[in-house]
């Protein structure tokens, strides 16, 4: 098995799932974003997004902080160093597979 294919087979399944990959991509270049922003951008339902964020939080890829802006609750999500590394590694693996094809 070639190295890129092997890395794809052994892909981090937490990151590989499209919705979670999108969440990590959105959080990658910023310090953080709230739940509403992620929901607007991904188009996921509240329950679905919440479930994906919980999976990412359990894996240590995302930190979730529940705060208040005035009297309005705000759920702030941040990518962790591990999350950033996992995302970048996964993107490199995908790139390797795509470039290996040509």
């Amino acid at each position: 098995m070639s190295e890129p294919i092997k890395s794809l087979v052994e892909a981090d399944r937490i990151v590989h799932e499209p919705a979670r990959l999108a969440i990590l991509a959105l959080l990658h270049s910023i310090r953080g974003a709230d739940f509403l922003y992620l929901q607007e951008e991904t188009g996921l339902t509240k329950g679905n997004l919440s479930s994906h964020l919980s999976r990412l939080e359990d894996a240590g890829y995302v930190e979730i902080e529940k705060t208040f802006k005035g009297k309005i609750p705000r759920t702030l999500c941040r990518i962790t160093a591990d999350g950033r590394l996992a995302f970048e590694t996964h993107c490199q693996a995908l790139k390797g597979v795509i470039e290996g094809e040509s």
Partner: protein, 210 residues
């Protein structure tokens, strides 16, 4: 999610684009440019050595410095009140030096050098300012993937060129370049803000707790 799947790179860039989506930054920067244009024209109209020249010079320093601080706070307040409850909040953190910033600095240096080389009959200052504004807007357009910024970049460069050709080598060219570019940016920002509010009507703020 959209039917057309965005690339990962597009997703990474989306938060950057989000900052400009609502048109508030264009409105603020456009107002600053318009104010600068008006100050330069008032400066150009006053006789040399008059007290108003000194006041104008001080205003030209004060407008970008105080204006940018004031508008940064104002844009943040407006976003907190009108934008974040509708489409969410993004914490951008510390701004990092980007490749785009180096392109703009390089472009500014190239323009400064070109200013010495170009023929005297042109208003090199207006031409350079128009080109620099165009370069900044085009860089932003590329980074934020916003088509209207490309249009603004072309308009700013054309305004600079027109001012360089028809207004002669004096301050009126600079005044026209900044003033007209500012007015166009205010118009563009106003349209973008209207479109944003139409696409995201007000809803009762219930927070985002999942």
């Amino acid at each position: 999610m959209d039917n057309q799947m965005p690339s990962v790179k597009e997703l990474i860039d989306r938060p950057f684009r989000y900052f400009y989506d609502d048109g508030l930054v264009e409105l603020a920067v456009g107002t600053l440019f318009l104010a600068a244009g008006l100050t330069i024209s008032a400066w150009a109209a006053t006789p040399a050595g008059s007290m108003w020249r000194l006041v104008g010079a001080l205003l030209l320093v004060a407008i970008p410095l105080l204006g940018s601080v004031l508008f940064k706070c104002l844009v943040q307040k407006v976003k907190d009140h009108w934008v974040h409850p509708r489409t969410g909040y993004v914490d951008y953190g510390e701004s990092r030096p980007s490749r785009a910033r180096w392109i703009v600095i390089g472009g500014a240096l190239a323009l400064a050098i070109a200013g010495f080389v170009l023929p005297d009959r042109l208003n090199n200052m207006a031409l350079g300012e128009g080109a620099l504004l165009g370069l900044v807007l085009a860089t932003l357009a590329y980074r934020a993937r916003l088509t209207r910024f490309y249009l603004l970049a072309a308009i700013a460069a054309l305004i600079g060129l027109a001012a360089a050709l028809w207004l002669g080598p004096d301050l009126w060219g600079s005044a026209a370049t900044f003033g007209a570019t500012g007015a166009v940016m205010i118009l563009s920002g106003g349209c973008a803000l209207r479109q944003y509010f139409m696409a995201h009507p007000a809803q009762s703020a219930q927070g985002d707790r999942a």
